[in-house]
């Protein structure tokens, strides 16, 4: 481990070592914004009911007095459904349970104490919005536990209604600060206004901070998701309207050695929907986990974004514009919404930068590269160790924080492989790393609930470990996508001008814009920074100050290409299927899922190694459709709230051609296992 990472990781302290007793530990939390008297949750509700905005709206939509009364009653009901409470006893009880669970499941829960302490030191004058990355249900519980342990007031937490439905649990969470939001309330104007007003009071009146997940949902693929701006703009509206002087945004990075939901995610990605959250299911899941070891968690508060500084420097935001009319009659204008989108992307980027890369992430990348290049038989433990060290150098060179204990590398790797023995196993130091074929029987699954097709067991058994492994590659792609694009653009080229290179990379970014959340506003920075890093890493050479060439001796070329390969392959497969099977008709997303999975299943069973099993993932298929629509390759029309697509013919063929060309540049085969043809075929 380099000094830089080591220095950084020094600030992390294991929460589990503290042995905190949640029932007895005094809790005198510090609040982000100190008021004369602490507002109560009931007062927050009351202010919403009294708000002029809602009352004006009620006046407008009510037919008569009775109707208005009815609507007020409805409003009260919804508000009860939304609103959070604050009950210290519930916080203590839940905290006790959670800390027990954490102790059982994790070897360590590492908290960046320096970042939390400096955040605490800045409290007093500004409301705070905490925006954690979202990879697991544990995120939200963990955040509250951390707050309790460090005497920070647990914020009000915007949570999805799926929790609300869980008998007992929903109400318990509510008492620890959770407030509940219906999903897809776009059409219900009344609900939307009520919720927005509630958010308004949480920001302007309440003092305890606000927490929500900017990605909107847990990322099943463990890649970052495009930030959702709905909640963020509600939360920022009072700032733009000049009702609060400043606002602090705190991105939070939570890195898991193994997410709680690993296998659930894999199933979901393959089209088997998650079970509806129920209390019983919740306890079942917990009991199932009991004897598991999920390894380490890293928890870090990123450098806060203070809006006055952020918008002052970047956009010269003029909040005065809203001062001339009452803020409750105004909405944000497109320019401001754009600023919010950009902020959302900045937050996600900051989260990503602080996601800690652990040894299994590296192992997953190494295993994939070895597989693609046909070298997996030579991947012994020693070889693995050597490669891990190489990759640490690469990641640190690209700017990532890597948490691998290089002093005890063997132990570190062995432990993490043990934790992930459902995917990879190694017998001894001289034997090679092996992927474990899954052995599931999905015959009794209700096929009507599947999002795609019922994949045969043989394909499932291959796909499950491959997709599982990919979940550990994916968090590293934040660092690897840009370098991979650069290499892709340089393959088969002698030297190329930086300007042309940037243009080529730009085209690739456009294709994968949603897959890897490549915000156009960052493309210059990303490119320039990556170019410098790659030159330092001697992957690239500057031939003169305007041209660049690939150092074909670099040991990282295949690794970087292998990181992006599953996605190029997946996009090629899917767009081909769309082009071939769905021309001349109007289709919906599910049609693509079915067509793609049907085609892929056949191809995988042929055992030619031409399709990567990750292509089966519906997540990437959805993102591709989204990209194709934005680029005009597909035409979208909304009918009964469902998107219907048609092919924009000429264009899509050129798109397939581009991907085909990219795919053929990759010298890879995707043979993870020898495929056994199922007897029924």
């Amino acid at each position: 481990m380099s000094e830089k990472s080591q220095e950084y990781l020094k600030d992390y302290k294991n929460l589990l070592d503290k042995n905190i007793n949640f029932m007895l530990q005094p809790y005198n939390p510090i609040v982000p914004i100190k008021k004369g008297r602490r507002p109560t949750p009931a007062e927050v509700k009351l202010r919403v009911l009294q708000s002029q905005k809602l009352n004006r709206y009620l006046d407008d939509v009510s037919k008569n007095k009775e109707d208005r009364q009815k609507k007020v009653f409805e409003m009260l009901q919804i508000l009860t459904e939304i609103a959070f409470q604050r009950k210290i006893l519930v916080i203590r009880t839940l905290g006790s349970v959670l800390s027990k669970l954490l102790n059982q499941l994790y070897t360590s829960v590492l908290i960046n104490e320096r970042s939390i302490n400096s955040l605490k030191a800045s409290f007093g004058n500004q409301q705070v919005i905490y925006l954690p990355s979202h990879r697991s249900y544990a995120d939200f519980m963990l955040m509250s536990v951390v707050c309790f342990c460090y005497n920070v007031e647990i914020p009000a937490i915007a949570a999805g209604m799926d929790f609300h439905g869980m008998m007992g649990i929903g109400e318990a969470l509510r008492k620890t600060g959770a407030f509940f939001m219906r999903r897809k309330f776009g059409e219900n104007d009344f609900y939307w206004r009520l919720f927005r007003e509630y958010m308004h009071e949480v920001i302007t009146f309440n003092d305890q901070g606000l927490e929500f997940f900017i990605e909107g949902t847990r990322s099943r693929s463990c890649k970052a998701l495009t930030p959702k701006t709905g909640l963020l703009s509600m939360a920022l509206e009072p700032y733009f309207m000049g009702e609060i002087h400043n606002l602090k945004i705190v991105p939070i990075s939570i890195s898991y050695e193994k997410p709680l939901e690993e296998q659930l995610f894999v199933y979901e990605l393959l089209g088997i929907p998650k079970p509806k959250e129920s209390t019983l299911g919740f306890f079942k899941a917990i009991t199932n986990l009991k004897n598991q070891n999920l390894g380490k968690i890293y928890f870090d508060f990123c450098e806060p974004i203070t809006l006055n500084e952020y918008y002052g420097e970047k956009s010269k935001l003029n909040r005065f514009a809203h001062a001339s009319e009452p803020s409750f009659v105004q909405t944000l204008d497109p320019y401001e919404l754009n600023l919010i989108t950009e902020l959302g992307h900045d937050v996600v980027r900051k989260q990503q930068e602080k996601i800690v890369i652990m040894s299994f992430n590296l192992i997953a990348l190494i295993y994939n590269e070895a597989t693609f290049t046909g070298n997996v038989k030579n991947l012994t433990f020693w070889e693995l160790e050597r490669k891990v060290l190489e990759l640490i150098h690469l990641f640190e060179g690209l700017g990532a924080i890597v948490a691998v204990d290089t002093k005890n590398l063997e132990k570190d790797i062995k432990e993490t492989i043990l934790i992930h023995q459902n995917i990879l196993q190694v017998k001894g130091s001289n034997s090679n790393l092996k992927m474990i074929r899954s052995n599931v029987d999905l015959s009794n699954i209700n096929a009507s609930k599947l999002k795609g097709i019922a994949l045969c067991d043989e394909v499932m058994n291959v796909a499950i470990p491959v997709v599982s492994l990919q979940l550990y590659c994916n968090p590293t792609l934040f660092w690897l996508v840009e370098p991979s694009f650069i290499i892709l653009s340089l393959l088969e080229e002698n030297e190329i001008s930086i300007k042309d290179l940037k243009e080529n990379v730009g085209k690739l970014r456009q294709i994968f814009i949603h897959e890897f959340v490549l915000y156009p506003g960052f493309s210059d920075d990303d490119f320039n920074q990556t170019l410098d890093n790659m030159i330092s890493l001697e992957i690239l050479h500057k031939t003169n100050h305007e041209t660049i060439e690939l150092n074909s001796n670099s040991k990282y070329i295949n690794l970087l290409l292998s990181a992006i390969a599953p996605f190029i392959n997946s996009y090629l497969n899917t767009s081909r299927v769309i082009f071939k099977n769905l021309q001349d008709k109007t289709f919906v997303e599910k049609d693509v899922f079915i067509a793609a999975q049907t085609y892929l299943e056949e191809e995988i069973l042929k055992g030619l190694g031409n399709v990567h099993p990750y292509s089966l993932c519906l997540d990437s298929i959805s993102l591709l459709i989204f990209s194709l629509c934005n680029a005009g390759f597909l035409l979208k029309q909304k009918k009964d709230c469902v998107n219907h697509y048609t092919i924009n013919f000429d264009n899509l063929s050129s798109f397939v051609e581009i991907l085909d060309n990219l795919n053929s540049k990759l010298p890879f085969e995707y043979n993870y296992f020898d495929v056994k043809k199922p007897s029924k075929l």
């Binding site: 002029q52 905005k53 004006r56 709206y57 006046d59 407008d60 104007d189 206004r193 003029n318 005065f320 514009a321 809203h322 001062a323 001339s324 009319e325 009452p326 409750f328 009659v329 105004q330 909405t331 944000l332 204008d333 320019y335």
Partner: protein, 611 residues
């Protein structure tokens, strides 16, 4: 080259704001888009309201005013006979609207642009004629005698601020004249087309279809309306919310918010609510160079010259008012009328002066002279001022005990608004002050009737015209010490001039309608029976001018008072105004020719030659 006017015009407000569309309220106006469906074409007000005669009895028709359509105005014929020597007869045939109209001069480039932007428009003769005039005596006379040779060419009905921006942009590109039109109640010739303008197409920008309430802020007591909202609609909408703006000029049934702003209007109840300049917080005006608006709504700022004051009273010469943010007040729980009787005009004025000094004016206080008192009697439906038994006792008390002369007494009408305790206290104080000036209370009913009279009286001029009587009102404001003298002198001059011209039947009457710290507004009615051979309107204006008129308190300047603008604002003031005109409207699109006399007008030909 002046770069200011050659640069492409920037119409963007520098601060884009998005309003919550759900909080905007559409207002169903009482006045239809096609005004001719409801309004009189050649006179004041509603078609269905006005004086008519059946079986030698005079009635007031319709049920829009609290004056019974079934009860005859018993004393009216007698009053007319005495004052004008005329017998009112049954037959009064209503004149019909002409069916032939001057051909419109259409600027094709502009017209195409209007169609491209899908702006509601008409070139129909009725629509054009209906918007070619205000309510001056001359306007009505010209209408009835078919004397309007130049009427507007195109009528536009924009529906919001953005459409107005597009219209003004097009007008500048195509070089047409834009005349903003609100309720058409001006008495200054303000919207009358320049009769010698045959070069350019004249376009009426009728604001009536932009009349939404954009928002209401009950906590800060502020509301934002589009400028075309008509007074009575505005009050109705606010009343429903338990609020009022309290701006009630006598024209408020028809006049619009934008018109009030453009003419610096004054309302009857200004003592409680303020005049328009006190009520306006922000105003948006679309000019040829962009949108002029104050970007702050702070209650008061120390921030250089206030450009709201350039908009207020600009009379459509600098741009179009599109949106106005105004103060509103809670509806008063108590509204009470009252009246006072004084032995003569002098004591009445003294009393008003003291009330103003004590700053205890009720919402409205108006003092009528004896002629107007007598005229008021003539409009009573049954009996008169002293009809009831109790009232008869009052008459007895007045004439016998108090020694009042019925030929000299004057009456003040009062309107109180506020909390009950406040109104009680105010009323007591007013009566006490009145007592000191020899006056005393004459009851609430007489007060209320006085205010009804205000609205009804506007219809009389049209009846009078049918009988060869020309009549009109004019007004001004004056310091307290000159108030009584002004009333006396104006009457004396009119008397002299009429006698000089051999006019036997005439009436000159006055009323003090507003009081201020430093003075009062005096309102005159003057009418005379004319000899058909003369040009009565010209004679009327001559006599009015002999009264040494000046600038007005609330009617505005328009064209007919332009001759007094210079003396009121000084030569430098005129050149300052002209600079503003050149800056805001370099192509003179807003060429309704208000405020300045022809010889003072900016020579735009010279300006464009310089460019």
């Amino acid at each position: 080259m002046s770069d200011a006017s050659t640069k492409s015009v920037n119409f963007d407000t520098n601060m884009p704001k998005n309003l919550d569309q759900k909080l905007i309220r559409n207002v169903q106006s009482v006045i239809p888009k096609r005004r001719q469906q409801l309004l009189q074409w050649d006179g004041w007000g509603y078609k269905d309201s006005g004086f008519y005669t059946v079986a030698e009895k005079v009635y007031f028709s319709g049920d829009r005013y609290p004056i019974s359509a079934k009860a005859p105005l018993v004393a009216f014929r007698e009053w007319v006979r005495t004052n004008f020597g005329i017998e009112i007869v049954d037959d009064s045939t209503k004149s019909k609207m002409p069916t032939k109209f001057p051909d419109p001069i259409i600027n094709e480039e502009f017209f195409e642009g209007i169609k491209k932007y899908r702006i509601d428009h008409s070139i129909h003769g009725e629509d054009r004629l209906f918007r070619c005039h205000g309510q001056t005596l001359a306007d009505i006379h010209n209408l009835r005698n078919g004397k309007f040779t130049r009427i507007p060419d195109i009528v536009l009905w924009p529906v919001n601020h953005d459409e107005v921006v597009n219209i003004v942009k097009l007008a500048n590109e195509a070089n047409v004249i834009l005349i903003p039109f609100g309720g058409g109640t001006n008495v200054t010739g303000a919207v009358t087309c320049p009769q010698d303008e045959y070069e350019r197409c004249i376009v009426i920008l009728d604001t009536s279809q932009m009349n939404r309430m954009l928002w209401l802020d009950k906590e800060n007591l502020l509301a934002c309306f589009e400028s075309g909202i008509v007074g009575q609609d505005l009050e109705r909408v606010l009343n429903k919310e338990g609020l009022t703006m309290g701006h009630e000029p006598d024209s408020y049934e028809f006049s619009t918010l934008g018109g009030w702003v453009a003419t610096r209007a004054s309302g009857m109840k200004k003592n409680v609510y303020g005049n328009i300049e006190d009520l306006v917080v922000r105003v948006k005006m679309v000019t040829s160079k962009g949108v002029l608006e104050r970007n702050i709504s702070a209650p008061r700022v120390s921030c250089g010259p206030d450009f709201n004051q350039i908009i207020l009273g600009s009379e459509g010469t600098l741009g179009v008012v599109t949106e106005v943010m105004v103060k509103v007040r809670p509806l008063p729980p108590v509204k009470r009328y009252g009246s006072l009787v004084f032995p003569d005009l002098s004591s009445g004025i003294k009393c008003l002066r003291e009330i103003a000094k004590r700053r205890c004016q009720p919402a409205s206080i108006r003092l009528m002279d004896n002629e107007q008192f007598a005229f008021g009697q003539a409009l009573k439906t049954e009996g008169g001022f002293f009809s009831h038994i109790g009232e008869k006792l009052k008459k007895f008390a007045l004439t016998t005990i108090k020694g009042f002369d019925l030929e000299k007494l004057t009456v003040a009408t009062l309107l109180f608004e506020g909390e009950k305790e406040d109104v009680d206290r105010q009323e007591k104080l007013i009566f006490e002050i009145a007592g000191r000036h020899g006056g005393f209370s004459a009851g609430a009913t007489n007060g209320q009737k006085g205010y009804v009279l205000t609205f009804v009286i506007a219809y009389i001029r049209d009846l009078a015209l049918d009988y060869g009587i020309v009549a009109e009102s004019f007004e001004t404001s004056v310091p307290w010490d000159k108030c009584e003298k002004l009333c006396y002198n104006v009457k004396a001059v009119v008397n002299e001039e009429c006698i000089k011209r051999g006019i036997r039947f005439f009436l000159i009457s006055c009323r003090v309608t507003q009081t201020y710290d430093a003075g009062a507004c005096v309102y005159f009615y003057f009418g005379f029976r004319h000899n058909l051979k003369d040009d009565p309107v010209h004679t009327y204006e001559e006599i009015e001018n002999k009264a040494r008129g000046s600038i007005s308190h609330h009617h505005g300047v328009g064209k007919i008072r332009a001759k007094w603008y210079k003396q009121s604002v000084s030569n430098l003031g005129v050149s300052l105004y002209k600079s503003a005109k050149i800056e805001l409207d370099p192509k003179n699109v807003f060429a309704n020719r208000n405020l300045l006399e022809p010889e003072d007008e900016v020579d735009f030909k010279q300006i464009s030659a310089k460019l």
